[in-house]
């Protein structure tokens, strides 16, 4: 019988004694429910061990039974704690630790700017300066920051035109400014800059709507890539040459060939493995993890949802965010010919949805070719779409009217 199973987890006190009635002493202790350990009877003597909580009862019983007992070795957590309980340094150190933790948690100790894109050094400096002006600097209080963070977010968005999204959050003693920059606008000619319209690809013109400029390539004509479709150089009735911003919609017809292949046997990685869920308590801009460690799982797909916390049917400002990681697993798939065709059809539909959304699929000639390890689908698309592309008219010399 080990001591940790015997109720003596908090230590034991060994005792030894002598007297007239050791057996009566043992009987009374047993009847009192005292846990006796290693009791040995000698020649008018008795020795054993009891738990610290039972020692006073043991001593009283010994006096009643005419025994003189004496405490021996004391073991266990109770006596270890008792030994250090008079050391004032421990209390001072503990209090200092608590105070330091409380103080450091109530002040901003670190500011970090995070972005999935690129934030230049000048932009970082400007963001830090805006945060400072909004009262968010190292050493400032980390309590009730909601107004300051909102003001900082608005100012960053207004003062740095490249920013598309800003979120300033204080987690513990760390202030995190998540800044995402917008995609730069593509180069576009001014609406009044003189330009021609050229073919963005080789095609046959099937229709056109010219709003400004002179149509050069008529319907039914073929045009190579870069060929002139609508000219911005216009001659008026008096014979004067005017440069205009050509504007038209020229629909061209062209073909493209795509191939899709689906094997009979394939190893797929599917998100059907074990799942791990993590929860955060969200209050305003702050979120507190309801778990220990880091919310991460290798080789997995992540999804999350946020639910409001309700109390007696009413929404509270608290929210619970649940993040779920689902691990990928490898599965060997064997397909029949029909399965391969169905998968090819799915791939083709996905391709058309992703790449041909802005064009009209006029016709599609499909040829399925069975191969040794799968089926290959060859699609010859006939597409129709706007092939007009602006090309600026560059003037060779200032004041001249030559056009490129």
């Amino acid at each position: 019988m080990k001591e940790n199973k015997s109720g003596l987890r908090f230590g034991s006190v060994e005792f030894s004694g002598y007297g007239a009635f050791p057996e009566r002493f043992a009987t009374e202790l047993i009847n009192c429910g005292v846990e006796l350990r290693r009791v040995r009877f000698g020649d008018g003597t008795i020795s054993g061990a009891v738990s610290p909580a039972d020692y006073w009862e043991t001593a009283r019983t010994a006096r009643r039974c005419g025994l003189r007992i004496r405490a021996g070795k004391r073991r266990g957590l109770y006596f270890t704690a008792l030994r250090y309980s008079r050391r004032a340094g421990l209390y001072v150190g503990f209090l200092a630790f608590v105070m330091l933790t409380a103080l450091s948690g109530s002040r901003i100790q670190d500011i970090e700017i995070v972005s999935s894109g690129t934030v230049t050094a000048a932009q970082r400096s400007q963001i830090m300066s805006i945060l400072g002006e909004c009262g968010l600097s190292e050493g400032s209080s980390a309590r009730r920051l909601e107004n300051s963070t909102t003001a900082a977010e608005r100012r960053i968005l207004l003062e740095i035109p490249e920013t598309a999204w800003v979120d300033v959050t204080c987690v513990g003693f760390r202030l995190e400014a998540a800044v995402e920059m917008g995609t730069p606008a593509p180069e576009m000619l001014d609406a009044d800059a003189p330009c021609n319209l050229v073919a963005s690809r080789a095609a046959a013109v099937v229709s056109h709507v010219v709003r400004d400029g002179v149509l050069v390539t008529e319907t039914g004509s073929g045009v190579p890539e870069g060929g002139l479709l609508v000219s911005g150089t216009v001659t008026d009735a008096a014979g004067n040459v005017i440069l205009k911003h050509a504007s038209a919609e020229v629909i061209g017809e062209y073909t493209e060939t795509r191939e899709f292949f689906v094997p009979y046997k394939e190893t797929l990685r599917l998100p059907e493995g074990e799942t791990a869920e993590y929860r955060w308590l969200v209050y305003g801009d702050d979120e507190y993890p309801l778990f220990f460690g880091v919310a991460a799982m290798e080789d997995s797909v992540y999804s999350e949802q946020t639910e409001a916390v309700r109390l007696f049917g009413k929404e509270t400002p608290l929210k619970i965010r649940t993040g779920r990681f689902t691990g990928y697993v490898s599965r060997n798939v064997t397909r029949s010919a029909d399965d391969c065709l169905a998968e090819l059809s799915r791939q083709q539909a996905a391709f058309e949805e992703n790449f041909y959304a802005g064009q009209e699929v006029y016709s599609c000639e499909k040829t399925a070719v069975p191969e040794q390890d799968g089926i290959r689908l060859r699609c010859v698309y006939t597409l129709r779409g706007n092939i007009a592309k602006e090309q600026e008219i560059l003037l060779s010399q200032p004041g001249s009217q030559g056009a490129e």
Partner: protein, 93 residues
């Protein structure tokens, strides 16, 4: 006569025999011990511990003889004796 036969002879029903268990001559557990009646020095030489156990509604005395006998109590009425147990017998009051 074994311990269980002795208990049966004393009037204890067979299903109550688990109240006293003797294992390998090294451990005796009595779940219904009412007290320690007497004891002798068993540290170096053979000695004895006499227990009062409640058996079939009556108190009986059980003598446990052996060397290096150690008594432990897990609470009220539960007693365990370990050591080199040489003999267990019942005494009449």
């Amino acid at each position: 006569m074994g311990l269980k036969e002795a208990l049966t002879a004393l009037g204890e029903a067979p299903y109550q025999h688990t109240t006293v268990t003797l294992r390998d001559g090294a451990e005796l557990i009595a779940e219904n011990c009412a007290g320690v009646i007497s004891c002798t020095d068993s540290r170096e030489v053979s000695g004895e511990i006499v227990l009062k156990i409640r058996c079939a509604g009556e108190d009986r005395l059980m003598r446990v003889q052996g060397t290096g006998l150690t008594l432990e109590s897990g609470g009220a009425y539960g007693v365990r004796i370990t050591g080199s147990i040489e003999a267990v017998s019942f005494l009449s009051l």
